[in-house]
Symmetry: C2
Subunit: 264 residues, 2 copies
């Protein structure tokens, strides 16, 4: 039996990573869990985020995951050590792969990186630490963008509202001269058009895509088990289906199952 990748997120943002996984591992089985009953994590405390993340990964391990991707910037920034310590299988977060990519871009540029994330991600300082460990000369500016998740979830990915909040958060960063801009929350790639307009010439680093690529370095597509994606959520499957088609840009979400995550 081949290996199965498990992917989880506080909600459905992690489906951007799942989409990247599908490109790298076509026809391969994976398990996705979205904690839709407790979403969002990005506004919550580090302790609560860790407690939830450990339950999420325990669910995936109990369902046969041989690698776990924490496809959530907030979890990766606040709970990766706890996850690695508690999981019996390898855990990949989004912070390390995205930090590596951004640092490598910055190393051949002006040495400047911008990190965009949730309040909890920015507060954690995880990206600054990860980038400093690679190259302490790189300057990192971090900005919490708390309105970006609700904007994406309500369909405001372009137009006036998206531009207004992008300007609120990014307006003063235009002159910073970032080589790389980390989209440190898996919702943010949906705003890449608007975000990119503030950072002409910068590389936008999609943290979910980098995490999927890191999984592909850990196990080869040949090792991965053949099969379909399986989707689990903690709230009703109905709300999942509405948003999932936005995130994964396809409709096949029959058989989405609701599970009791508090029991893990």
């Amino acid at each position: 039996m081949g290996k199965t990748v498990g992917i989880f997120d506080s909600g459905l943002g992690g489906l951007t990573a799942a989409g990247e996984f599908e490109k790298l591992f076509p026809g391969k089985r994976y398990i996705y869990f979205g904690d839709t009953a407790r979403v969002p994590y990005g506004t919550k405390s580090a302790e609560t985020i860790r407690r939830y993340a450990l339950q999420d990964s325990a669910f995936l391990c109990a369902h046969g995951a041989s690698v776990v991707i924490a496809a959530c910037g907030t979890v990766s920034a606040n709970a990766i050590d706890a996850l690695k310590a508690s999981c019996p299988v390898p855990v990949i977060g989004v912070v390390e792969p995205a930090a590596e990519k951004a640092a490598s871009v910055a190393a051949s540029g002006r040495g400047r990186v911008v990190l965009l994330g949730t309040a909890a991600t920015v507060k954690s300082g995880a990206y600054e630490r990860a980038i400093a460990a690679i190259d302490p000369r790189i300057a990192v500016k971090s900005v919490a963008c708390p309105m970006f998740v609700p904007l994406v979830e309500n369909g405001y990915t372009s137009g006036y509202a998206a531009e207004f909040f992008a300007n609120e958060y990014l307006g003063l960063l235009k002159s910073f001269g970032a080589d790389a801009v980390i989209l440190g929350c898996t919702h943010y790639p949906h705003l890449s058009g608007v975000i990119g307009s503030f950072f002409e010439g910068s590389v936008l680093v999609d943290s979910g895509r980098e995490a999927a690529a890191a999984a592909a370095r850990l196990i080869s597509p040949e090792e991965a088990e053949d099969g379909e994606a399986e989707f689990y959520v903690s709230d009703s499957p109905e709300s999942f289906k509405r948003l999932a088609s936005v995130f994964l840009k396809r409709d096949a979400f029959e058989g989405v199952k609701c599970i009791d995550i508090e029991g893990y």
Copy 2:
């Protein structure tokens, strides 16, 4: 020993009701629980909202509440029957008191009411049913305003962003000629300036205030126990303190306690 009122909300919106309670019951003890580890409820399914609401009220009852106010539009619209069936003490939601107030205003006007609420509140149809039960001739237009909660929680209660989303949700209702506009989510009174500008001459019904007034009809201030407010949350007290000063417009939140709501 006098009676103690318990107030709960998915998060901190219910503090608008707590503020009204403090005006009606000065110097009286009450217990507030905000489910900050699982907030928001308004984007979640009716089953999940019911499960959470029953735990929230069980906590308040276990801590001596003799009356429970569900100071959350989403809970009141989706779980009030379950709460009344399970609670050993009287339960007051925001829907019935706000519907009564709006119906009484509309009865002496053109018979038109607008309801603004979360997705889950609007989907429930609870306000339409409550108003139809009072006077079936009253026309009700309901609009979900999912960006209003993040706007309030991030401090955008006036200015361009608030006006943009108010226009998105309310622009077409300007000509409806509402007698009363129900602010069906306890966050929305913070946007009453912007909302009011779309409804000149309409009465804005603050659902949290109406619920507090309903509590005052159920128990008199003399019956209520003397003492201080006690605040409990399910996430870290730190996040509570940040938002609570916005909602209750005072700072005295020492001794806020974090509890494990999943155990109730």
